[in-house]
Amino acid sequence: MSREHKKGMSLIVKTITRLTVGLILLYGIYIILHGHVSPGGGFAGGVIIALSFVHLMLAYGKETALRKVSRSAASFFESVGATLFLLIALLGFTGGYFFLNFLGKGEPFKLFSAGIIPLCNIAISLKVGAGLFAIFVALVVLNLDSEK
């Protein structure tokens, strides 16, 4: 066993986590990309993506999860998500209005439809996912500091 297997929860939890965590991440991405045609969207999908990393952190300990997404990366993606959202809204000025849906709308209920809505969903999911993960990391780090 490698060193990382000594931390975190029991072998059963780790095995289940290893099998499911990718699926959870994939499901989050699915929810985001289908946000404009089915229930869900950027916020829900972002939460699910954040939960997949939180899941990893609970099962394997914080080092393993922070190696995948560090704290600075989380806060970077959070700012990028917010900036992207604002940028999409500003690009509406090309058609004359703030927040105008300036892209072609496409055929309803198809994946490539609804203009800027899927792009907004992706920006929101970045913001929400990274933000939620950053909050969780902050809580974990605070806890460890007080234990010392």
Binding site: F76, L86, F93, Y97, F99
Partner: protein, 501 residues
């Protein structure tokens, strides 16, 4: 006309972009947060002053976000009242931003301060500029949540406690507002404020509007710190860093509390006699209770916080009189209070910056060592106490005359009494902090750095020349057009809906 409308979304876009860019780029680069903060607030001040001229030229301007026309989409509305509050907010924000360049050196991670500061500014501008009731709630929450974090910025024990108390109480206030919005939405089936005013006028007087008025008075009254709902303010405002105290006391309680309350009560629901008298009583109560609580304080910032409650009482008293002169005086006092209360908080921050204490008993004779701080504090003290010719005198005079003219001499009496007690309280501040003999331990005290001095002097200048806003010609365009919006009441619906078609 089309060009004029396009400035409206930028009141929200500029501070949001500034906040996100600060969070994205300015972590490593030390000088960048200051630059972004100053440039964004300067740009906001410029477009808000521009907005006054646009409103005077074209009347009320309506912006349809995303190209969705009223009443379907979210509308942003710029009229006299909003441009008046926007100028107040962004003027104070710009000056406070300059002050913070030096003051916030004491704290770690300046970029976090500027991010939260700009987010709070975006929320306040959003509340003022929006024409949609639910959108107003969203911006209200952005500004509130950012301000909770800013109150706790020093992360000392008492700051965290104050922030928690503020967060808990303010959330209750937000819930009342949300409940009021939910009732109005279920009653009128629309969220646009102009459309809602139209539907409410059609349906006539109803019990639900009374209920909703009470909910809004509680919710926004809590944000504005009217007296029965004021308990969070004396903890929260002193705990924040001085620039934020100035923002909170100077403009946050006004844009989130008074602006939103007046906009909804006057323009959407329509003022009725019982609501007006409730506001009159609440205003007078805040005015008197606030000043009585202030007089016994020895913590400089806490004393100022209690005076904020008292001065908010004046504003509400003036506006609730309902006469054109009363509304005019109330709004003028809103502007004046923003200026001199921000200045007083910046002065208290300067004293704390140099001496490290806020206790009046430990200060003394600082006038000789800190002439700029002492001098500007004297100007601001005389303004808030209502000494002629400073700006506070004129607005208080107008409110008192309006109360007498409206046949309510008792309210005028309380206003005069509160003004005298304010004078007494600030005589105490000047005597203990700046005059008297210099204590030995303050021999090495130095005046504050240059940016702090510049911003305090700028605010003091506005205090001195503030009365000039009454000169005819200046008056109609700025204060007059703001009070006209409130005087026309639910006629707001016709103006806004008419300007879209």
């Amino acid at each position: 006309m089309t060009g004029a409308v396009n400035i409206i979304p930028f009141f929200v876009v500029i501070p949001l972009a500034g906040a996100f860019l600060t969070a994205l780029l300015a972590k490593k680069i030390k000088w960048l947060p200051d630059i972004i903060g100053s440039v964004t607030t300067l740009a906001l001040l410029a477009i808000s002053i521009l907005s006054i001229f646009k409103v005077n030229a074209y009347g009320a301007l309506v912006y349809s976000v995303g190209g969705w026309k009223l009443p379907i989409g979210i509308a942003m509305v710029l009229d006299g009242f909003s441009s008046f509050v926007l100028v107040t907010v962004n003027l104070i924000a710009f000056i406070v931003g300059i002050y913070a360049v030096n003051y916030m050196e004491r704290f770690t991670s300046k970029w976090k301060f500027y991010t939260l500061f700009l987010l709070m500014l975006a929320g306040m501008n959003g509340v003022v500029i929006t024409g949609d009731l639910f959108n107003l709630f969203v911006f209200l929450e952005i500004a509130s949540v950012a301000s909770y974090a800013l109150v706790a910025f020093g992360t000392e024990k008492h700051e965290l406690e104050a922030a928690f108390k503020y967060a808990a109480m303010s959330t209750v206030g937000s819930l009342f507002v949300l409940l009021g919005i939910a009732f109005l939405y279920s009653f009128t089936s629309t969220l646009n404020m102009a459309d809602m005013a139209r539907v409410l006028t059609q349906k006539g007087a109803n019990n639900i509007t009374v209920m909703v008025s009470v909910l809004f008075i509680m919710g926004f009254g809590l944000k504005a710190a009217l007296v029965p709902f004021h308990a969070w303010l004396p903890d929260a405002h002193p705990s924040a860093p001085a620039p934020i105290s100035a923002m909170l006391s100077g403009v946050l309680i006004k844009s989130l509390g008074i602006y939103a309350l007046c906009r909804i009560i006057y323009n959407v629901i329509g003022i009725t006699a019982p609501v007006a008298s409730a506001l009159l009583v609440l205003g007078t109560l805040s005015m008197v209770v606030g000043v009585f609580l202030a007089i016994g304080q020895w913590d400089l910032k806490r004393l100022l916080a209690y005076h904020s409650i008292s001065q908010i009482g004046y504003v509400i008293l003036g506006i609730a009189l309902g006469t054109p002169l009363g509304i005019f005086g109330g709004l003028f006092h809103l502007f004046n209070h923003s200026v001199f209360k921000s200045l007083l908080f910046l002065n208290s921050g300067a004293v704390e910056y140099s001496t490290g204490t806020r206790d009046l008993k430990k200060m003394g004779g600082l006038m000789g060592k800190m002439p700029v701080t002492g001098g500007t504090n004297l100007v601001a003290s005389m303004s808030i106490a209502g000494i002629p010719p400073f700006n506070g005198f004129w607005s208080k005079l107008i409110i008192i005359i309006a109360a007498v003219q409206a046949g309510k001499p008792w309210f005028a009496f309380w206003a005069v009494l509160a003004s005298l007690l304010t004078l007494a309280s600030f005589t105490k501040v000047m005597k203990y902090a700046f005059f008297g003999t210099l204590k030995e331990k303050w021999n090495k005290v130095k005046e504050v750095p240059v940016f702090m001095k510049v911003s305090m002097l700028a605010l003091a200048l506005i205090c001195v020349i503030g009365g000039a806003l009454l000169i005819s010609g200046v008056n109609e365009g700025f204060l007059g057009s703001a009070s006209n919006v409130l005087i026309e009441g639910t006629g707001y619906a016709k103006v806004i809906l008419g300007s879209v078609k």
